[in-house]
Subunit: 496 residues, 2 copies
């Protein structure tokens, strides 16, 4: 005889219908679900969440409840506010569970929950109290102030909506790559190679010494990756089209609103391509897809814009999305042409800001080019070889500026923020790659494994990387990248 | 006058129709796409990929091409194999680009590409050569041997199919959580806390000393996370339901087929729950959803099973998926009941293997319980408090074994592999949590930020974690976790 499982005794049973629709019914519905599929009028309903705001009139009290599932709140109306005890019990920030009557509302919101102290079926319970100085109040808080509250700041509608937005954007990217036959892979974060060679790596070592392995856990020095590109190239040559969305780490000693020491990077490698324009068109299609998908999801657009303290910010989101969705293909120009434009238009008649061929295009110049001159995202291609890493091949014929070596690469420059994506063709010829590494006096032994793929059925390929937080900050119209990531890390910043 | 963008000059234009269907037409279609939407018979087609196998008869030669987009290959038939030059040029592993005639085939495959040396439109080009000793040949290689070839092993159909499977499973999980209103978040990997307190952490420090910040880059010692749970709990209390799929790191000095130093963990936290059964039912719904979705995607099922060298392995995949999809809800029992079953049935009349209450259930015992006794995934709940971390609250009333403290937690045990998921309710009462930490002589100051959420509108919640590689290994019937991750990391193992 089989032992009777506890499941049966405790009434644990699986609702198969629900699995088919992905829905899972034993959890209390979050506010977003209740508003999407409202229960019948006058039915008894339980709502959980934090008190967002409170107000009382003589005969009636109002509590706005938010549960983080939406920027929409649910209004609880309670009918005995004159009882002093009742009145003083509630504070903004408390977590509450209210059982009351679900009714169509005469107020701004379509529905409300009526709580009647005299109805024995109605219940109101404070699940978690707050201290008198609970810092998140109804008034507008500056994002700078909120950054000092890492564990509480996502209780504000703005920062919660940004995390929900980020989650949705990742989903849309997943759809885009799935439909284009890309395989999502997970290159390692701990590596013995330095992809960029910039020395801005974090070293990793076991806290406990592992005696059997000598001094080092991995038997050699190991670092956190600054870019997964080299590993991704290897995987692309086996799987054709690959992408990843993965943490990367840079020990830059800069505490700006554009940099993090730990950030998420979307990286793509694609095989069997022979023109840079195949990569720029793929990049454009990807960004357009995300915005188009977000735009057509009205509830999500509302969730993001309605959550903002400031109406100007909602307008800016709208404007940026329109810019991305321009009916014209985004302009593309070479680095040399970009320098020409900057000198001819931006610096007309002035010596200040004029560029020599070979100078880096500054972030300010990038913002001018995309934001003011083209008023569009723009691709700048074929930069001077000396500005770029060893793995980029020379520009295609016809692009080369005589006597000045450029490489087959591109940056995608966005209005307001500058560089969003950087990519290139990859040198797939072993001897040329080795020659370039030697010219740069690089240690070839360290990435012998990478070079070896060029000797074993090498295929032409290219790819790009996009800082995921930059995309979210741009599309969500947030100025500081620290406000689009849950617990940002930077030099001196590792609070918890 | 606006500067004429290069885009226009180079014919870079965006195919808007294609963006709407996510498709991106300027890339050459991969084999999976060509087979899904075959071109008209007799049309000219270009196929790219690696040579998988070669054979010649008197009048005709055959080359099987694989491009990593599918376990299916495309057969190129060429009509002048008697020309010695032609014959000796080709080797297994070379990357090839063939332009020829797309025709319906009389062979096993529905289509083939005919290449005719005498047709000037037909072309065959070796893009990348291989050395004479190229190791990936048509014969079956052991997975152990393939592990010695980290950059080439995914050219085999088995290992490539596992990475494609992994990518699909992640997509299905994304769908599941989206539809259930979970927000995907990215807790930090660099942290100053130790969630498990086991000391098995990697320490992180900048290679370049940052003089302005004193000795440490973050101003304090920083480690790689072993579990993102504590941060996830904080985010759940703002966003209601959260999940993440993120790398975690453990410096365990064990080189087994079940452990990695760097692995991906799926973690979930959900608020406003009051029973452990809400978590086990969510876990069951999640795993069932993935298998159901994979099962209904016939092409993916074929891709995974057809890629196996060994027919037994395909049967094992099928059997495991059937086990998950059992029409009965998975059995659930308490730890105490599990101990009773093990002693009553497995150890009947034997002293060896008998358990005392309080003993850990070994992996072997877990495999017996799920695989042999129940022949089903099983939940074991309410383990002894001493086996579990500080944040788990006591078991619900009625579950407590008199005098023996247990906590409200569960493990999901799978046949063949043992533990797949571990989860629990989380103690949401500040004083009780603090008391338990003091009882365990823990440093409370270090996670003060975590404790503080219990004072600021604390809500009842719980969650679980699942080793992603273990799920893939189980559902993909791979024995060694190192074969389901691209570049595995373990003690002494950090090849590239």
């Amino acid at each position: 005889m089989r032992f009777l499982p506890t499941a049966a005794r405790l009434g644990h049973s699986l609702n198969t219908r629900c699995i088919q629709n992905f829905a899972y019914s034993t959890l209390a519905p979050p506010i977003v679900e209740t508003l999407q599929n409202p229960p019948p009028s006058n039915s008894l309903i339980t709502v959980n969440g934090h008190i967002k705001s409170l107000r009382y009139s003589k005969n009636v009290g109002f509590i706005d409840i938010s549960d983080g599932s939406s920027s929409k709140t649910l209004n609880v109306v309670f009918l005995s506010p004159d009882k002093v005890l009742e009145r003083n019990r509630f504070k903004v920030g408390q977590s509450l569970s209210v059982t009351g009557r679900w009714i169509e509302s005469r107020g701004k919101q379509a529905y409300e929950v009526q709580y009647n102290l005299d109805n024995p079926e109605h219940q109101i319970k404070i699940m978690g109290d707050v201290p008198e100085d609970y810092p998140i109040q109804k008034k507008t808080h500056s994002l700078q102030f909120l950054r000092t509250l890492p564990t509480l700041r996502h209780r504000t509608s703005t920062l919660a909506s940004i995390l929900r937005f980020r989650s949705k954007v990742e989903s849309h990217l997943t759809d885009f790559f799935n439909h284009n036959h890309f395989v999502k892979v997970t290159p390692p974060l701990i590596t013995s190679s330095d992809c960029e060679g910039a020395g801005e790596q974090f070293q990793v070592e076991s806290l406990k010494k592992v005696s059997s392995k000598g001094d080092e856990f991995f038997g050699k020095p190991a670092n956190l990756t600054v870019s997964t590109q080299l590993h991704l190239e290897v995987l692309a040559q086996s799987l054709n089209r690959v992408w990843t969305l993965t943490p990367c780490f840079r020990a830059e000693d800069s505490n700006t609103n554009r940099h993090l020491s730990e950030f998420w990077m979307l990286e793509v490698e694609v095989c069997y391509i022979d023109r840079l324009q195949q990569l720029t068109a793929l990049t454009e299609a990807m960004v357009r897809h995300v915005v188009k998908a977000m735009r057509s999801d009205k509830a999500s657009f509302f969730d993001l814009t309605e959550a903002r303290f400031n109406k100007d910010e909602a307008a800016r989101i709208n404007e940026r999305w329109e810019t991305v969705l321009s009916p014209e293909a985004w302009p593309s120009m070479t680095y040399s042409e970009a320098v020409e434009i900057i000198n001819k238009v931006k610096c007309k008649g002035r010596s200040k800001g004029r560029m020599e061929w070979g100078d880096s295009i500054s972030t300010e110049q990038e913002k001018w080019l995309a934001g003011e001159y083209f008023k569009s995202p723009v691709f700048v291609t074929d930069y001077p070889a000396e500005q770029k890493p060893f793995y980029m091949p020379p520009s295609s014929e016809g692009v080369l500026v005589s006597g000045k070596p450029t490489v087959s690469c591109f940056d995608l420059i966005m209005p307001d923020i500058g560089e969003l994506v950087g990519g290139s063709m990859r040198q797939s010829d072993h001897n040329k790659l080795l020659e370039e590494m030697k010219r740069r006096e690089m240690n070839t032994a360290e990435i012998d494994w990478y070079l070896s793929t060029r000797l074993n059925g090498s295929v032409p390929h290219g790819g790009f990387g996009m800082g995921f937080e930059r995309l979210i900050a741009y599309l969500g119209a947030m100025e500081n990248i620290k406000d689009v990531t849950a617990f940002p890390r930077a030099s001196g910043l590792c609070e918890c």
